[in-house]
């Protein structure tokens, strides 16, 4: 039973890609033994004799002398089990018929001498698709290999490659970019700083998004992330910027919400429809004819506006400013961060501003009061519910820290962080916003120096904390670059006179100039 085996031109030396057939040493019909030289091939490096890998009878040679053949192309086919088809009277007695296409001896006729080459009679299919021997395992020479390749030879040669991709298994979701956990090397976590692990609000955003946020003056910590993999997307930033623009918050004016006493379940706690969340500004929604967009006044916006009007035109507002060298505050922040008590909490300049306000209030209690027109009384409070104005996806809210004056600094830091996180995720509750006694508005995060903040209704003072900038400053008699900020306080002139307001502001500034000494001396 004929067993045809093709022999493919191997790589005869270290990566060659083709060879020229110099001389055939056998011809179709020849019986060949194992290792018998069958052909001389010339490559780029040498002329080599190729020994036969099989014992059998040559069925066909596939290239003529002088032809150049690629490595891996079939050059000769053998029948390794010629049986009775080759030569001898035994064949004449009715030997096994040869495979289709081979000139086979008719019964009783001895086949002609071996020189005639029936090469052209080999079916094309046999040559084009070498019959892969099913008994050869994948990976061994002659066997199948993934991607439709055939393992030809050990040296491979520079393989001819194709621009075809191996098919992948369908995966449930697209490949997830792992924010790779750093490897532990000898017990230490490389690349992981303790501070990052300490409950701080870590914001995820791509570099181009961060730049955009900075350019637009958006604090990323106040945004919710809707981007892929928990990151803040470009759209999130653009939405926030639009919100600020339409709410008039690009200036120093501090919006605040109508306090709950008059409307317990007022618009404050109501979830606004999503469209108003972003201020409703959608770039594509402008009427092409008028190039205008009309947004209904309702919900948070409406309440904010009403409160603003009430406050602005009831209490006579006076605003004073002071510019302070707060290098000492930044130093204190660094110092505090290193203390064990503060290992788990976020220490920021805002924390120290809050502390300064609380200490200054203790020295000037009258600033922590309110004008009760109805009762014709000024209510001075012994407790400080310190409000912090926060920009959120739903607008500006002013939650307050209850009884902040009695908190230790670490506790104050913790509550400040919680307040900010809650506000940022839009979960501030009405109770949080009730009963504030004095407020800080941090306009510095927008890159703004100061302004004329409007009082939170029911309060008599509001402090605007501006951006901290490196500016030339006369320090110890010389002009030095120092970290400088502006503090502005608006107060209700009905109960806070100029002296009180000024002293309060001056105290706040003095504390921030030298927090360590003043806090020791004054608390």
């Amino acid at each position: 039973m004929p067993n045809y085996k093709q022999f493919l031109l191997p790589d005869l030396g270290e990566g060659l890609t083709e060879g020229e057939i110099l001389k055939w040493l056998v011809a179709p019909g020849d019986a060949v033994t194992l290792n018998q030289p069958i052909v001389e091939v010339e490559t780029a490096k040498a002329a080599v004799e190729v020994p036969s890998p099989y014992a059998g009878v040559v069925t066909a040679v596939h290239h003529s002398e002088g032809e150049t053949v690629d490595v891996g192309a079939p050059i000769i086919t053998f029948d390794t089990d010629p049986g009775d088809t080759a030569g001898g009277p035994a064949a004449a007695a009715g030997g096994t018929p040869a495979a289709a296409g081979i000139t086979s001896p008719a019964a009783g006729i001895t086949p002609p001498a071996a020189t005639s080459a029936p090469a052209e009679v080999i079916p094309a299919a046999l040559v084009a698709n070498p019959p892969v021997d099913a008994a050869v395992e994948p990976g061994l020479i002659g066997g199948p290999a993934p991607g439709g390749r055939t393992s030809v030879l050990v040296g491979y040669g520079p393989k001819s490659s194709t621009a075809v991709r191996r098919p992948r298994k369908p995966s449930p979701e697209p490949p997830e970019p792992t924010q790779r956990q750093p490897m532990r090397i000898a017990g230490t976590a490389v690349g992981q700083s303790a501070r990052v692990a300490a409950g701080a609000v870590a914001v995820l955003a791509k570099p181009p998004v961060r730049k955009l946020a900075r350019d637009l003056g958006i604090d990323l910590t106040t945004l919710s992330a809707t981007g892929r993999n928990g990151t803040i997307s470009r759209e999130d930033v653009e939405r926030a910027a639009a919100l600020l623009a339409t709410a008039g918050l690009a200036t120093a004016a501090a919006p605040r919400l109508q306090s709950a006493p008059t409307a317990p379940d007022g618009p404050v706690g109501v979830a606004d429809p999503p469209s108003s969340r972003a201020g409703g500004v959608v770039a594509s929604a402008f009427d092409p004819a008028t190039r205008e967009q009309r947004l209904p006044i309702k919900g948070v916006r409406k309440a904010t506006a009403a409160a603003m009007v009430a406050s602005a035109f009831t209490a006579p507002h006076v605003t004073e400013w002071v510019q302070a060298d707060v290098t000492g505050t930044l130093k204190a922040v660094r110092t505090l961060r290193r203390l064990p008590d503060f290992a788990e909490v976020k220490v920021s300049p805002l924390l120290l501003v809050a502390k300064a306000v609380l200490v200054a209030v203790r020295r000037h209690p009258m600033i922590n009061a309110s004008w009760d027109e109805a009762a014709q009384e000024i209510v001075v409070k012994d407790y400080v519910n310190l409000g912090i104005a926060a920009a959120t996806p739903r607008g500006l809210v002013v939650p307050n820290i209850k009884d902040a004056g009695r908190l230790t600094l670490p506790d104050l830091a913790t509550l400040l962080a919680e307040l900010t996180a809650t506000a940022k995720s839009g979960r501030t509750q009405p109770a949080d916003m009730r009963g504030g006694t004095i407020t800080i508005t941090n306009v510095g995060v927008f890159g703004v120096d100061t302004g004329t903040p409007i009082l939170n209704p029911g309060e008599s003072a509001i402090l605007a904390f501006g951006a901290i900038r490196k500016l030339p400053w006369v320090y110890k008699g010389k002009v030095r670059p120092r970290m400088v900020t502006n503090l502005g306080v608006s107060f209700d002139h009905r109960l806070v006179d100029g002296q009180l307001g000024s002293q309060f502001l001056a105290d706040v500034a003095r504390i921030l100039v030298d927090p360590m000494r003043t806090l020791v001396a004054w608390t």
Partner: protein, 405 residues
């Protein structure tokens, strides 16, 4: 079997005339002398198969010994020829044939005791055979399924060194270790004529002589470093280089298995007895190409080859065995049968060598593995199993089919 006892002690420093060399070395040598055998060639069996004697090297072997040596020569050549054929057929990526150098390798290999350590280059298949390494283990390297197929400690046969000459320093260091252990083992370092130009080899000579290390430097001068002839590496016969470093050198007919055996034994004994290194230059010829991808017709004459064919190591032994009556036709037929059987074993084993698992790329990088590498391996494993047409995919679909019943 005894070795001629003209092993005069080597005085510390100074002249090394006498001792192994038997007589003073010639003053100078021209380039011509470096490439021709010259009068200093130790020989015990002429190319015609005539047994001769040498004043410094006696060899007393039994008939069985002579037959055994011949059998080794035949088997070693047979494996080499088979491997060359396997390469031509695409079963090996490359093969470095030792054709013509059988006597140099068998003669020296048979001189080694089991405790002696051999540091080969990449052509010492004959020495490997003598040391008991299965030839199939060598083929794995040339087939590309492994970098080395054997544990060097199994037979005291080192891993093949493809970087030229580096193994001579290793051999010297190993010999220094033997010194510290105080045993009677010795080391043999193999290298070629080309290697003597490498810095590492010359440094090895320095270290070996300075520390008096028990190492035999066995140079198979097969006259060629790929296409470069001996003149490109030296102006003096190689065995005379040793003198400049301060240790004895001897040139032996590399195609004479008896002479090689005798000289190597003497040198090893010298080492064992604490007399330090010896340089043996086995003067032979690379009958084949440098490796299977080399074409020697580009740089050497066919007539050279013809000259050396007349010095064939196997032919002279066969002639001697026949003429002396120590072997008969049955013996020679038996040797051929053994050779064919060994060749068949090598062929079958080679073709059946499985491809290694891709993940084995990561095996054995370190004695103490690292976490980073483990992570890399895991990622690669996940990557490999992500393909729809891979073996893992087949396993998955097979499992799915089975589960569906």
């Amino acid at each position: 079997m005894s070795v001629a006892s003209s092993l005069g002690g080597q005085a510390g420093g100074g002249e090394v005339a006498g001792g192994l060399m038997g007589r003073a070395a010639p003053e100078t040598s021209s380039v011509a002398t470096s490439t021709t055998a010259g009068p200093e060639l130790v020989q015990l069996l002429t190319p015609e198969g005539e047994r001769v004697s040498h004043p410094d090297y006696a060899l007393d072997l039994t008939a069985e010994d002579y037959r055994s040596l011949y059998r080794d020569l035949v088997l070693v050549r047979r494996v080499d020829v088979e491997a060359t054929a396997l390469q031509r057929q695409g079963e090996l990526g490359i093969w470095a044939a030792l054709l013509g150098q059988e006597a140099a390798q068998v003669g020296s290999g048979r001189a080694l005791l089991p405790g002696d350590y051999a540091f080969p280059t990449y052509r010492e298949h004959g020495v490997a055979y003598c040391k008991g390494v299965d030839p199939l283990k060598l083929l794995g390297l040339f087939r590309g399924v492994s970098h080395a197929g054997w544990d060097p400690h199994d037979h005291n046969f080192g891993l093949y060194s493809i970087v030229i000459g580096s193994q001579t320093l290793h051999a010297t260091g190993y010999a220094m270790g033997i010194q510290k252990d105080g045993t009677e083992d010795a080391v043999i370092a193999y290298f070629g004529d080309g290697a003597t130009s490498q810095g590492d080899v010359n440094e090895a000579f320095v270290f070996a002589t300075v520390f008096n290390a028990p190492v035999v430097f066995f140079c198979q001068n097969n006259q060629w470093a790929i296409s470069e002839p001996l003149e490109r590496q030296t102006r003096i016969p190689l065995y005379q280089r040793a003198r400049g470093f301060g240790f004895p050198g001897v040139r032996v007919d590399g195609n004479d298995v008896l002479a090689v055996l005798a000289v190597t034994r003497a040198a090893l004994r010298n080492a064992r007895e604490g007399n330090g290194p010896t340089f043996i230059e086995a003067f032979t010829y690379r009958m084949g190409a440098h490796t299977t991808s080399d074409d020697p017709t580009r740089y050497r004459l066919a007539s050279d080859l013809e000259t050396w064919k007349l010095k064939d190591p196997l032919e002279r032994m066969k002639a001697y065995l026949v003429r002396s009556g120590m072997a008969d036709a049955a013996f020679f037929a038996g040797v051929e049968v053994d050779a064919d059987a060994l060749a068949a074993h090598v062929r079958k084993g080679c073709i059946e060598m499985p491809d290694p698992d891709p993940l084995s790329i990561f095996d054995g990088v370190y004695a103490e593995p690292t976490a980073l590498l483990a992570e890399e391996r895991a990622r690669f494993a996940a990557y490999l199993s992500s393909f729809a047409d891979g073996p893992q995919a087949d396993a998955d679909s097979a499992a799915a089919t089975a589960g569906g019943r």
